[in-house]
């Protein structure tokens, strides 16, 4: 596996399989949800192979449970490694969270206490994952709606410590930084500035919504275009971390591919302008 992933990508969704292979698709690469392709055969794997012949791919999982209390699922890791052998991804990632326990999968990206104990636990498991896959792994900062009392680290310290102790890299979700900054009351720019400069290997961009029941909390719904505040934060991330491969995720209200490609063109423009500004400074 090599880490040469450049430019601007999209999350691959079944609605876009055919259009992704049409000549006018300008995405540089696609990211797949790993679990969607852990099947024995059929349509999804057929399209995956064809799209993989044309585009570089990244793999992004949702069920590794890297922060969970059950032992790492060896069967899941075997299936992940087998999929990686088929896909030959440029990057492999999952979320810095926990997803269940006692054999139950809650299918949510649940928040970890931000403590030294959690850092040690997650880092040890990440080292196991990297050994099993034979490559550096990326973990994504997740959106969260609660924090535990007794946290001893802020979010930037927590992310930095996991990276330092595990040797993994960060998949920086800029929308999640924005959502958390609003939900937990911190400065998102300060968080980006506090992360180790070389640690970010991939960037996610997405839309969010506001809690319909009036709490004022933001919810990471991936059902809308990227908002202006997140674009501004992305520009800052580009100035801070340089030319990192970036992509847009959409999981609900999925528009035609052409619409997402227009949004991706906007990401290119913002990144180019941010880089010009960095060079001029």
């Amino acid at each position: 596996m090599n880490n040469r992933l450049h430019g601007f990508g999209l999350g691959l969704r079944a609605q876009h399989y055919a259009d992704a292979l049409s000549m006018d698709c300008t995405a540089d690469w696609f990211e797949i949800i790993s679990e969607n392709y852990m099947v024995d055969g059929g349509r999804a794997l057929h399209w995956l192979d064809r799209i993989g012949e044309r585009y570089p791919l990244a793999m992004h999982g949702v069920s590794l449970d890297i922060g969970g209390r059950d032992p790492l699922d060896r069967d899941y890791l075997r299936r992940l490694a087998a999929l990686a052998k088929r896909v030959k991804p440029r990057l492999v990632s999952d979320h810095l969270c926990w997803t269940g326990g006692d054999g139950v999968n809650l299918h949510d990206l649940l928040p970890l206490p931000q403590t030294e104990e959690a850092v040690r636990h997650v880092a040890a498991r990440l080292r196991q994952v990297q050994d099993a896959l034979g490559t550096q792994f990326l973990v994504e900062n997740v959106s969260s709606y609660l924090r535990f009392a007794g946290d001893t680290l802020d979010e930037a310290q927590f992310l930095s410590a996991v990276v330092a102790e595990s040797g993994c890299a960060l998949l920086l979700d800029v929308n999640n930084v924005y959502v958390n900054s609003r939900n937990h009351g911190y400065d998102p720019v300060a968080l980006l500035d506090a992360l180790p400069a070389g640690s970010v290997k991939q960037i996610h961009l997405a839309g969010h919504s506001i809690d319909a029941l009036g709490s004022g909390l933001l919810v990471d719904t991936h059902d809308a275009p990227v908002c202006d505040e997140v674009w501004a934060l992305y520009a800052h991330a580009v100035r801070r971390f340089g030319e990192v491969p970036a992509m847009i995720e959409r999981d609900d209200n999925i528009p035609p591919l052409a619409e997402l490609l227009d949004e991706l063109a906007h990401a290119r423009d913002i990144a180019a302008a941010a880089l010009r500004r960095s060079e001029a400074a």
């Binding site: 679990e35 059929g42 794997l45 209390r69 059950d70 949510d108 649940l110 709490s215």
Partner: protein, 261 residues
């Protein structure tokens, strides 16, 4: 095997008890600011996400009984069978059996759920090649006594009320669902050809023969079985007719002979 108790694991277990059982003890471990809303967002997301998965995997049952009734079923099923698999694709695997055991399940619900689940199983079962009628025509006469049919892995046989597939066909065509009349049970075959899932009602006796072939019986054995009920000439004609139909449907992955033809 869990590691020794820790603050990390205790907090996870407490939040999990909130999500799965509504036990609010986790609140003591959270700052007070908008605490109820924060917990509610996670609880709602857990229930709604898995209810959406069931609605996606059982779209006809969902349409048949409506949002509210389906939502109640989803909540009950989630309590009885929380997901134990990394992929949500497997969450609904016990839904039909749970419906069958459940008090208050109306006639047809469990059977429709079973039929929809089988469609999903066939949809992403292992790929296999498709043998053709021409492949069979090319077999030398000496190969026929040892012929075995390797059937598609993406194939399921089930005895279900004859009215169930009509519900699915009406839904897929955008027509109003016909009234359901339990009653006649028929043998149904579901299979995938290319990436499309098909089904058809089997002729009397055909399911038993397909099951025999699937389990490794030779073609000669299938002919013998037909001969139990038919004169020899009729049995041979019937066997040839069934083989032709199965090949035309794409049910046969390979024609195996000894020695290989």
């Amino acid at each position: 095997m869990n590691a020794p108790a820790s603050a990390l694991f205790e907090r996870q277990a407490a939040l999990q008890r909130w999500l799965m059982h509504g036990e609010a003890g986790v609140a003591a471990q959270l700052p007070a600011e908008r605490r109820d809303a924060r917990l509610r967002i996670y609880a709602d997301a857990y229930r709604l996400r898995l209810a959406d998965v069931l609605a996606h995997d059982f779209p006809v049952l969902h349409a048949w009984i409506g949002e509210d009734a389906f939502g109640e079923l989803a909540e009950g099923y989630l309590r009885a069978h929380p997901s134990r698999h990394p992929s949500v694709r497997h969450f609904g695997r016990h839904f039909a059996a749970w419906l069958r055991e459940r008090e208050g399940t109306a006639p047809g619900w469990a059977e429709l759920a079973e039929f929809e689940w089988l469609q999903g199983e066939v949809f992403d079962a292992v790929d296999a090649p498709v043998a053709s009628i021409e492949d069979a025509a090319r077999l030398p006469p000496a190969a026929w006594p040892s012929l075995r049919l390797q059937l598609q892995p993406a194939m399921r046989l089930r005895a279900l009320p004859a009215a169930i597939p009509a519900l699915v066909e009406a839904h897929n065509a955008g027509r109003p669902l016909p009234p359901f009349a339990a009653g006649e049970i028929a043998d149904w075959l579901l299979w995938r050809r290319g990436f499309e899932v098909f089904w058809r009602r089997l002729e009397p006796g055909e399911a038993g023969l397909l099951a025999l072939a699937r389990d490794g019986a030779g073609f000669a054995e299938l002919c013998e079985r037909l001969g139990d009920d038919l004169p020899e000439t009729d049995a041979a004609l019937r066997a040839a007719g069934l083989l032709k139909r199965w090949l035309a449907d794409g049910l046969v992955a390979a024609l195996q002979t000894d020695p290989p033809a």
